[in-house]
């Protein structure tokens, strides 16, 4: 996400990470940490969703951009539902052979749905316009 920052310059930005230590890397925005959770932990997902719910209510975002995974998926769904936020998904460059699980599921909820690999782009799926490296 750090490498996409130039695209956000001029906007008021709130960052959410699963690692509280990343607060030190954020000079140009607000910072929140949430717990990490994935489909393998239902209870963790519920707790993380509550954390994201509070953040989304407080920030009332107009746009949400995420590179994944479960936390980004939930943040996008919540912000779209509550505040009609416009949403951007940039599937992680680590997903070379197929989109991430969250990246596949987010398709119909992302206004801009991107993959970082040209061979994963298609007409009914995500677009490819470049990668973070």
């Amino acid at each position: 996400m750090g490498r996409l920052r130039p695209a956000l310059s001029g906007a008021s930005v709130a960052f959410v990470s699963t690692n509280p230590d990343h607060e030190a890397d954020v000079q140009d925005g607000r910072f929140y940490a949430v717990r990490d959770a994935s489909l393998s932990s239902k209870l963790g997902l519920v707790a993380m969703t509550l954390q994201l719910f509070r953040i989304v209510l407080k920030e009332r975002p107009q746009y949400v951009i995420s590179t994944g995974a479960a936390p980004g998926y939930i943040a996008i769904r919540l912000a779209r539902l509550l505040f009609k936020a416009r949403t951007i998904w940039v599937d992680s460059i680590a997903n070379v052979d197929q989109l991430s699980t969250s990246g596949q599921k987010i398709g119909k909820h992302a206004d801009l749905w991107l993959t970082q690999w040209p061979h994963l782009a298609n007409d009914n799926g995500p677009n490819y316009v470049g990668a973070v490296v």
Binding site: L4, A7, D21, A24, D25, I93, L114, A131, V132, V133
Partner: protein, 159 residues
């Protein structure tokens, strides 16, 4: 210093063990490994389970060579700092990750000469020997994503 990193999720003892025996047989004392929650006891290398993002960046900056799992975070940081990096992919078939995406990353990077890739421990050892002989410096890559990706996102938000 040789900096070894396995990322924040699971340990990757196959990598740590291979590097430790390499260091031990070559008499290499300056190896520091971020090893995750491992039960492995090192013969020669220094180990720490986890590092903060800032400590991690400092280790990359002060390393002559980075050896890691095929995680994109480590690869990008090494490229940004202009450091040579050798990666070995975690294998889901050995219980080292949830799926084989690191194999995909490794296969994709193998033909390029921006990073070095070893698919198993044997190849890792061979490449370690070669890389340590000729530690060359590299020019760092830009800190920003591809311009057309930046512009697409910018246009989406601001127009």
């Amino acid at each position: 210093m040789i900096f070894v990193a396995v990322g924040t999720q699971m340990p990757f003892d196959r990598l740590i063990r291979a590097i430790d025996s390499w260091a031990d047989s070559r008499g290499e004392n300056d190896v520091f490994a971020q090893c995750g929650d491992t039960g492995y006891t090192a013969k020669r290398i220094r180990m720490q389970s986890f590092l903060s993002p800032q400590e991690f960046t400092r280790c990359v900056e002060s390393a002559d060579l980075i050896v890691s799992h095929a995680g994109m975070g480590t690869i990008i940081t090494a490229l940004e700092k202009g450091k040579p990096i050798l990666v070995m992919p975690r294998r889901a078939c050995l219980g080292e990750h949830r799926n084989e995406h690191q194999l995909g990353t490794a296969r994709n990077f193998a033909p390029s000469n921006s990073i070095e890739v070893a698919f198993d421990e044997q190849e890792l050892i061979a490449k370690m020997d070669r890389l340590v002989c000729g530690r060359e410096s590299r020019s760092p890559i830009s800190c920003d994503a591809n311009p057309s990706l930046i512009k697409t996102i910018q246009d989406f938000i601001f127009q």
